[in-house]
């Protein structure tokens, strides 16, 4: 394992800046996820760590070793690709052995390590198969075994679960996390799936347009998004423009809200954000959102999802599925001050 440090790395493609002056530190054994929409620069960043792409400026460090100009085959990273990128002409065992062979390890040591790795991903017995004879889930495990068997300084994942079906995805995601903890490998993980990022990471780096929007642990990122982009990208969010009027109060078209936390100077325009699950049906006295007309009701099993309209503004709410709500109903909601975030 190693500590990973990116210092001001930038990568341009013509006039397009894919990665824009990024600073990031990943500690020994930490699991950090780069999360963002496609084109946000997360994969480019990952590939720069692997050495497939050279940064135009900035530096990459593994511990106190400067890796910026080191070719990929001398970096001791291991990457799990979205396509798995297994070698089709080699058996499972040969695939896993490849990294060890390149490191010229003694044959006995190779065999021991391959067995170990295949045990960890429960693939014993399939050593002689070719990748083409395996299911998607099994191929994914081979890719994982091939990566960890080399005992890399840094483990890299490029959307490794996107080719699996939903059920398998959740299972493998837990297995990856468990394996990473057990082996204590510094890990950089790329995904566009916010649920995956929340479930798997020690810290999440939300990226947008080549820049870092916010870095934090999953709880902080979800509960205290710094920007409207982060609030919206991680789960659903209601984002409303308002005006601070002093005394911690914000006036908005959908109602007036008490805001805790950041002190707000009067008559400043602000953006407010809260989660659909923070909308609670309220008696008239405690309500801060009134006259919300229900436009649609979607049954989601353990909850119902509402789209309501307040003074022409759409808001999303999640309510207990026992509640009998119908389209056209007029409701009042209360949102706790502690759940409302002032965002950029």
């Amino acid at each position: 394992m190693s500590k990973l440090r990116l210092a001001g790395i930038t990568r341009k493609y013509g006039s397009f800046t894919a990665v824009d002056n990024i600073d990031l530190e990943v500690s020994d054994g930490e699991f950090v996820t780069l999360l963002g929409p496609s084109g946000c620069g997360k994969t480019t960043t990952l590939r720069m760590v692997a050495g497939f792409i050279a940064p135009d400026s900035g530096e990459i460090w593994f511990d106190d070793r400067r890796m910026t100009d080191v070719p990929p085959h001398r970096r001791n990273t291991a990457m799990v690709f979205q396509s798995y990128a297994l070698f089709p002409h080699m058996s499972v065992a040969q695939n896993v052995a490849f990294g060890l062979k390149m490191r010229n390890l003694p044959a006995a040591e190779q065999v021991k390590r391959i067995d170990e790795a295949l045990d960890m991903v429960s693939l014993r017995g399939l050593e002689a198969r070719r990748p083409g004879q395996l299911s998607g889930g099994q191929q994914q495990r081979v890719a994982l075994a091939r990566a960890i068997v080399t005992r890399p300084d840094i483990l890299l994942f490029d959307e490794p679960l996107s080719n699996l079906d939903a059920k398998l995805r959740e299972k493998v995601r837990l297995e990856i996390r468990e394996l990473q903890r057990r082996l204590d490998i510094t890990t950089l993980y790329v995904t566009h799936d916010q649920a995956e990022a929340l479930a798997i990471s020690d810290r999440i780096v939300v990226m947008n347009g080549g820049r870092i929007e916010q870095i934090g642990d999953p709880g902080t990122i979800y509960r205290a998004p710094r920007s409207a982009f982060v609030a919206d990208f991680l789960g659903a969010a209601n984002i409303v423009d308002g005006q601070a009027v002093g005394g911690g109060t914000v006036e908005s078209p959908v109602g007036n809200f008490a805001v805790t936390g950041a002190p707000l100077s009067a008559s400043r325009p602000v953006k407010l954000s809260w989660r659909p699950e923070d909308m609670k049906i309220a008696a008239d006295g405690s309500a801060n959102i009134r006259d919300a007309v229900v436009r649609s009701v979607v049954f989601r099993g353990n909850f119902i999802e509402l789209l309501v309209e307040v003074a022409g503004h759409p808001l999303r709410a999640q309510l207990d599925s026992d509640l009998a709500v119908q389209e056209g109903d007029v409701l009042s909601f209360a949102v706790l001050a502690s759940r409302i975030r002032v965002v950029e």
Binding site: A50, G51, F52, P71, P72, H73, R74, N76, T77, A78, M79, F81, Q82, S83, A85, L86, F87, P88, H89, F98, G99, M102, R103, R130, G132, R146, T150
Partner: protein, 285 residues
Amino acid sequence: MNDMQPGRITLLLLIIPGAGFIFLFLSAAILMTFLQSIGLYSLVGESHLTASYWLSLMDKTFFDSFFFSLKVGVGSAFGTLLFAYPLALFLRRRRFGARTIGSIIKIPLFVPALVAAFLILNVLAFNGVLNNVLLWIGIIDRPMRMLNDTFGWNVLIIQVWKNLPFQLLIIASVLETIQTDIEDAARNLGANPLRVIFHIVLPLSAPGILIAVVLVFILTFGDYAITRVAGPVYPSSLSVLMYTDAFTLQQWGIAACIGMVVIVASLAFVAIYARAARMIQGMGR
């Protein structure tokens, strides 16, 4: 969709124009040549079953020609590969100049074999470009004799020149099918560029190499024009020998025997190729 299924007869009628044409002109022609070689169909004189053509074919001239053709075939196929493969690897990286080189290299594809032979002759001739350049630089002090040498170097050189773009196109298209991810994975696991080529690119492009080698072999094994113009006086290639037997010596029966040898040898190589290709494909999937 139920009663729209075409019947057997309809299918048969549909394939007749294509398959029938090939069948008529391939099978019938091969059969006639075979019959001719055993005397059952003669263009001159009476037809009767005889082994005399085959027996009189089996002399030193024939074997020398056979091995000369084999040498030219195998030599051209692998000799071309020696240049085509590294070139394909280079062009694939799309480095500076790759496009220009890629276009220039295709020129021999559009030059007929006979013309190609003449073009190269001017370079290799006793008083040709190469000799003059070498004299001028001072590497040699007498012009070298490079044409009509007994080994057939000049034939090989012309064949390589002529077939290079052909192999290049085949190999390049196979290299295109190798995913970048797979090479990246190899680099990531510690393979330096040379080992990536050796362990990943080479095995994955083996089917393409095989196709390229076999096709060039078949094209060059039966060559007439280039051997005739630039080849040694003796031995000649099978095709040249066949021409001489048929048109100069009026030995049509013997010529037919040579034709059979060329066809069978080519088919044998196609069979080897098909087997090997299946084997490699079985490995890859």
